[in-house]
C-alpha cells in the first residue's frame, strides 16, 4: 500500500518528460491537461496514502523503501531510498495539494503566453523534485531534490527571459542559494565522515552516540546544514534573492517562493532536528536568525508599493517565524505554521495574481484601489488569506499556528523572553502590512477598471485555498479553546517532542496579547490607509522618516552592501583577469613556437646550392669534432 508513494514523485517527473518530448504534438491545451492530471493524480495518491498512514500507521511510525540502488562506492552506499513518516506525509500532501491547485490556476493565468507548455513542463519538474526532496530517505537523494528545485526556481524566475532584468533576478536567486548549498554539501560530507552513513534515519540515530552534546563536530555539522537551510528559506543574511524572485510569473511565486520550495529549509531543520538538539548554540542561532529576519522583513513589507514584493517580504518574515519555532524546540509548531502558511500565502499570491491579471500587470498598490466592488470574489478570498496571515483570532488557521509558536517560545527551556517579545512584535507588524495590502488594493477610490474577471480555473483554487486558510487550523486547537491536537499527536512519532505545555492562565494571556496586537495592527492600518490617507503620504515624505522609508523599502540595504563588498570587487577582479593570466603562459608558448617557425622557414630558400653548401659545412664541422682531440 505504502509503496504507492513512489508514484507521487514519479508522475510529475513523467509528465515533465512527456511534455518536453511531445510538446509540439500535445499542443498547449494538451500540455496543461497532462500537467494538471499528473499532479492531480499524485495529489489523490498522496491523500490515499496519508489516510492509510493515519488509519493504520506502520511499525515504528515510518515506512522506508528502497526503489533501486543508486551509488555504491567503497563505504558509501546511496540507494534511491524513500522515507515515509508523519513529517513527509504532511509535506507530500501539502506539496501535491497546493501544487495541483496552482497548476489548475496556471492553466487560466498563463493562457496565451508564449512558452505555455514550457511553463507546465518546468512546473511539473519542480513538483517532482520537491517531492523527491521531502520523501528522501537518504541525504544524497535529498540533495538531488534540493538542487533540482533550485534549478526549477531559476528556470521559472527567468521564464519571461526576453526581459534581461528577469534573467538577472534568476541568476541572483541561483547564485545566492548556491552559497548556502555549498555549506550544506560540506555539512553532508562531515556527517558522512563522522557517522559513516548518509541514510537520514541511521545518521540521526548514530549522531547522539558519536557526538556529545555541544561538541565541535556536532556544532559544525548543524551550522553547515543551517547555512543551507537559510539560503533556501531566505533567512538573513541570504534573504536578498527572494524579493527579486518575484520577477517570475505569479503562480511560480505562489508555488515555489511561498508555499513549497522556500520551506525546504524548515523541512531540513525539522528532518535533522536530532542533530540540532546536539548543538544547543546553533539552535539559539536558529531562533535568533528567525526572529531578526521576521522583524526586519516584516518592517520592509510595511513600506513596499509592489504587491508581490510585499508578499515576498511577508514570506521571508513568516519563514522567520518558522525558524523561530524550530529554534525554541517547538518543532511541530514550525511544521504546522509551514502548512497553514502554504495555504494562506499561496492564496494571497494567487489572489494578487488575479488582480494583476485583471489590471494588465499592474503591481503598484498605489495605482490599484477600490477593487472590492468590482472583484468581490477575489476580495473575499484575499481577505481570508490576509486575516489568516494576520492571525485574526478563532476563525483563521494562522491564529492557531502562530499561537502554537508563541506557546513554544514562552515554554522554551532557554526561556529567552526576547524571542517571545519578537514574536509578539512580529504579530503586530504582520497584521499591519497584511491589512495595508487589503486596504490599498481593494478599498479606497477605484483608480482602475478590471478588464477581465477570473474564470473557473482561477476561482476554484482561490475558493479551496480560502477554505483551507480558514479551516486548516481546526486540527490543532489549544487547551483554552477546546483542545484538539490531531496535528501534533500525528507528528509525535516523527518529531518526538511534545508541544509546549503552558499553564492555562499564561496561554489565555498569550492569546489575548496576540489577538490584541493583531487587532491593533489592523486598526493602525485602517487609520493610516483608510481613515487618514494623507497620513501615509505625509510620513513617507517627512525628512527623517523619508530616509527610514528608503532603507526599509530597499530591504535594509543588504543589496547595496553586498554590491559594494562582494559583487563589485568580484566584477573588478574578473575584468582585470579578462584575458586569463594562466592562459597567457600557454599562449606565450604558442607564440614562441610561431617565432621559431618563421626563423626555420627563412633557411628554406629553395636554392639547392645553399643546401649543398650547408651540408658540406655541416659534414666538415662534424669531422672536425670527431678528428680533432
Amino acid at each position: 500500500m505504502f509503496e504507492l508513494i513512489v508514484l507521487v514523485p514519479a508522475l510529475p517527473l513523467a509528465s515533465f518528460l512527456a511534455i518536453t518530448a511531445l510538446g509540439r504534438r500535445l499542443g498547449s491545451q494538451g500540455a496543461a491537461w497532462v500537467a494538471c492530471a499528473s499532479t492531480g493524480i499524485a495529489a489523490v495518491i498522496s491523500t490515499v496514502v496519508a489516510v492509510e498512514f493515519i488509519g493504520d500507521p506502520p511499525d515504528q511510525g515510518f515506512f522506508a523503501f528502497e526503489v533501486w540502488e543508486w551509488l555504491r562506492v567503497g563505504g558509501l552506499r546511496a540507494p534511491f531510498a524513500l522515507h515515509l513518516d508523519a513529517l513527509s506525509v504532511i509535506m507530500t500532501s501539502v506539496v501535491t495539494g497546493v501544487g495541483f491547485l496552482i497548476h489548475l490556476y496556471s492553466a487560466e493565468f498563463m493562457a496565451g503566453e508564449e512558452g505555455y507548455s514550457r511553463f507546465f513542463s518546468w512546473l511539473n519538474l519542480f513538483v517532482g523534485f520537491m517531492l523527491v526532496l521531502v520523501l528522501a530517505g537518504n541525504f544524497v537523494v535529498l540533495y538531488l531534490g534540493w538542487e533540482g528545485v533550485g534549478l526549477c526556481s531559476y528556470l521559472l524566475i527567468g521564464f519571461w527571459y526576453r526581459n534581461p532584468a528577469n534573467g538577472a533576478a534568476a541568476r541572483k536567486a541561483f547564485i545566492v542559494t548556491r552559497i548556502g548549498d555549498v555549506a550544506m554539501a560540506l555539512g553532508l560530507l562531515l556527517i558522512f565522515t563522522d557517522l559513516g552513513t548518509l541514510d537520514i534515519r541511521e545518521a540521526m540515530n548514530r549522531s547522539a552516540g558519536v557526538w556529545p552534546v555541544g561538541s565541535d563536530r556536532a556544532v559544525a555539522a548543524a551550522a553547515l546544514l543551517l547555512a543551507g537551510a537559510a539560503g533556501k528559506s531566505a533567512q538573513i543574511p541570504l534573504q536578498v534573492w527572494l524579493p527579486d524572485a518575484m520577477a517570475g510569473p505569479t503562480p511560480v511565486s505562489a508555488l515555489i517562493h511561498a508555499a513549497t520550495m522556500v520551506t525546504a529549509g524548515v523541512y531540513l531543520v525539522a528532518r535533522t532536528h536530532w542533530l540540532f538538539v546536539l548543538a544547543p548554540d546553533i539552535l539559539l542561532v536558529v531562533a535568533t536568525l528567525g526572529s531578526v529576519t521576521m522583524l526586519a522583513a516584516g518592517l520592509s513589507a510595511c513600506v513596499q508599493t509592489d504587491i508581490k514584493r510585499t508578499l515576498a517580504y511577508s514570506t521571508i518574515s513568516q519563514l522567520g517565524y518558522m525558524f523561530l519555532a524550530l529554534g525554541v524546540g517547538a518543532w511541530s509548531a514550525g511544521v504546522f505554521h509551514f502548512m497553514t502558511h502554504a495555504f494562506f500565502k499561496a492564496l494571497l499570491f494567487l489572489a494578487a495574481g488575479a488582480v494583476i491579471l485583471a489590471t494588465q500587470h499592474e503591481h503598484d498598490m498605489r495605482k490599484l484601489g477600490g477593487l472590492a466592488r468590482q472583484m468581490p470574489f477575489v476580495f473575499v478570498t484575499f481577505l481570508a488569506g490576509a486575516a489568516s496571515l494576520a492571525a485574526l483570532p478563532v476563525l483563521t488557521a494562522g491564529f492557531y499556528s502562530k499561537d502554537m509558536i508563541l506557546a513554544g517560545a514562552w515554554a522554551a527551556p532557554e526561556a529567552s523572553r526576547w524571542f517571545l517579545g519578537a514574536a509578539l512584535a512580529g504579530a503586530f507588524v504582520t497584521s499591519f502590512y497584511s491589512f495595508r495590502m487589503v486596504f490599498l488594493t481593494f478599498l479606497g477610490p477605484a483608480r482602475m477598471r478590471p478588464h477581465k474577471l477570473p474564470g473557473f480555473a482561477v476561482g476554484v483554487p482561490l475558493g479551496a485555498l480560502a477554505l483551507l486558510s480558514l479551516g486548516a487550523g481546526l486540527i490543532e486547537i489549544p487547551h483554552s479553546l477546546g483542545h484538539v491536537s490531531l496535528f501534533s499527536s500525528f507528528l509525535a512519532d516523527a518529531l518526538p517532542y511534545p508541544p509546549a505545555v503552558v499553564p492555562a492562565k499564561v496561554e489565555l494571556a498569550l492569546q489575548a496579547t496576540a489577538t490584541g496586537l493583531a487587532l491593533a495592527g489592523l486598526a493602525a492600518a485602517w487609520v493610516v490607509y483608510v481613515g487618514f490617507p494623507w497620513a501615509a503620504e505625509w510620513h513617507a515624505t517627512m525628512r527623517p522618516l523619508h530616509w527610514v522609508h528608503g532603507l526599509l523599502r530597499n530591504g535594509w540595504g543588504f543589496d547595496a552592501v553586498y554590491d559594494r563588498v562582494l559583487v563589485r570587487p568580484f566584477v573588478a577582479a574578473t575584468s582585470f583577469n579578462r584575458n586569463d593570466l594562466i592562459d597567457s603562459v600557454f599562449e606565450g608558448v604558442g607564440r614562441g613556437v610561431a617565432v621559431l617557425h618563421v626563423a626555420a622557414a627563412l633557411t628554406q630558400t629553395g636554392r639547392v646550392r645553399w643546401y649543398a653548401a650547408l651540408l658540406a659545412i655541416g659534414v666538415i664541422a662534424l669531422l672536425a669534432v670527431l678528428v680533432l682531440p
Binding site: 622557414a601 633557411t603 628554406q604 630558400t605 629553395g606 636554392r607 639547392v608 646550392r609 649543398a612 658540406a616
Partner: protein, 104 residues
C-alpha cells in the same frame, strides 16, 4: 728504372684534391648538368680513396666497393639526366637558382 707505385698518401691527397674540386664545381655552377658532372668527379675521388686504402691494407674490399660505386654512379647519372630533361621541358631552364619553387 722500376715502376714504383705511388704511396697511398699521395693517392689520398689526389683524392682530396679531386673531391675539393668537385665540391667547388658543385657549389659554383648554376647549370644542373655541370652540377651533375661535378658530382661524378666527387664520386670518383671517393672511389680513388677506396682503391688506395684497399691497396694499403692489401684487401679486396676497396676494389669491390669501387665496382659498386661505378654502378651507383651510372644509376645516378641516368636518373639525374632524366630529371634534368624533365626540368628543362617543364621550366625551360636548367639554372638551379631559378628553380626555387620549394622556398619556405
Amino acid at each position: 728504372m722500376s715502376f714504383s707505385f705511388p704511396l697511398p698518401e699521395h693517392a689520398l691527397l689526389l683524392a682530396a684534391l679531386l673531391f675539393a674540386m668537385g665540391l667547388a664545381g658543385l657549389l659554383a655552377r648554376r647549370n644542373i648538368v655541370f652540377v651533375l658532372m661535378s658530382l661524378e668527379v666527387m664520386l670518383n675521388a671517393a672511389g680513388l680513396a677506396l682503391v688506395a686504402s684497399g691497396h694499403k691494407w692489401a684487401q679486396a674490399d676497396g676494389q669491390v666497393l669501387f665496382i659498386v660505386l661505378l654502378a651507383v654512379a651510372g644509376c645516378e647519372a641516368a636518373v639525374g639526366l632524366g630529371l634534368v630533361m624533365r626540368i628543362h621541358r617543364r621550366s625551360r631552364t636548367v639554372d638551379s637558382d631559378s628553380l626555387d619553387s620549394l622556398k619556405g
